[in-house]
Symmetry: C2
Subunit: 119 residues, 2 copies
């Protein structure tokens, strides 16, 4: 692998693995970007703790301190990133975390060896 300094001093070893493919980095960055908001972090944590894995919109806590349109925006953002799913059941929408997507991000953070598979 070439480096920024073609005639670098021999000050240290290079990393042992090559850069991860750009498309995989884009995929991971999209997941992290969607989680890069405190409200969305709280929503994901709340949904992930649901017994049965699904939470009706009627049970999303008003302790979030945000308006309904803002809440809808954040939920849509998480659905768009594939982190949660939305299913309409009669009057209410139901939301659930997609563990496989969180696992992709978690595997990257845990191993950071480039072995974790992306979406």
């Amino acid at each position: 692998m070439t480096t920024l300094a073609t005639a670098s001093t021999d000050c240290c070893a290079a990393a042992s693995t090559p850069l991860m493919p750009a498309d995989r980095a884009v995929c991971l960055a999209e997941i992290f970007k969607a989680l890069g908001d405190p409200t969305r972090v709280r929503l994901v944590g709340y949904l992930a703790s649901a017994q049965g894995g699904t939470v009706c919109a009627c049970h999303l806590p008003d302790e979030l301190g945000i308006s309904q349109p803002t809440l809808s925006h954040h939920l849509k953002r998480l659905v768009s990133a594939g982190i949660i799913t939305r299913e309409q059941r009669g009057r209410w929408a139901h939301y659930a975390v997609v563990p496989e997507v969180l696992d992709v991000a978690r595997a990257f953070l845990g191993t950071t060896t480039g072995d974790a598979r992306c979406c």
Copy 2:
């Protein structure tokens, strides 16, 4: 815990745990936001794979396809978020991942039970 719909239909159970504290969500979101960029994901993965844990700036790969100022911007962003450290050794800066910070994010993604401690 009160909910958005005070007189909700009994369509499902609420989540079993309360919302995580707002300050912890802010902390986690800052980590995720810093990782929400493909170049920064690649840099973290590259640095984390370094033998000895540290990479000299002279060994950062030019396969990233970005200019030196852009690279510096991304490195500063990661340092600012506490995800990597920067140490000047003579002519070159050396960078290393801070595993404890990545572990905080990883614990959230793995358990999402609100038990992982934040910075």
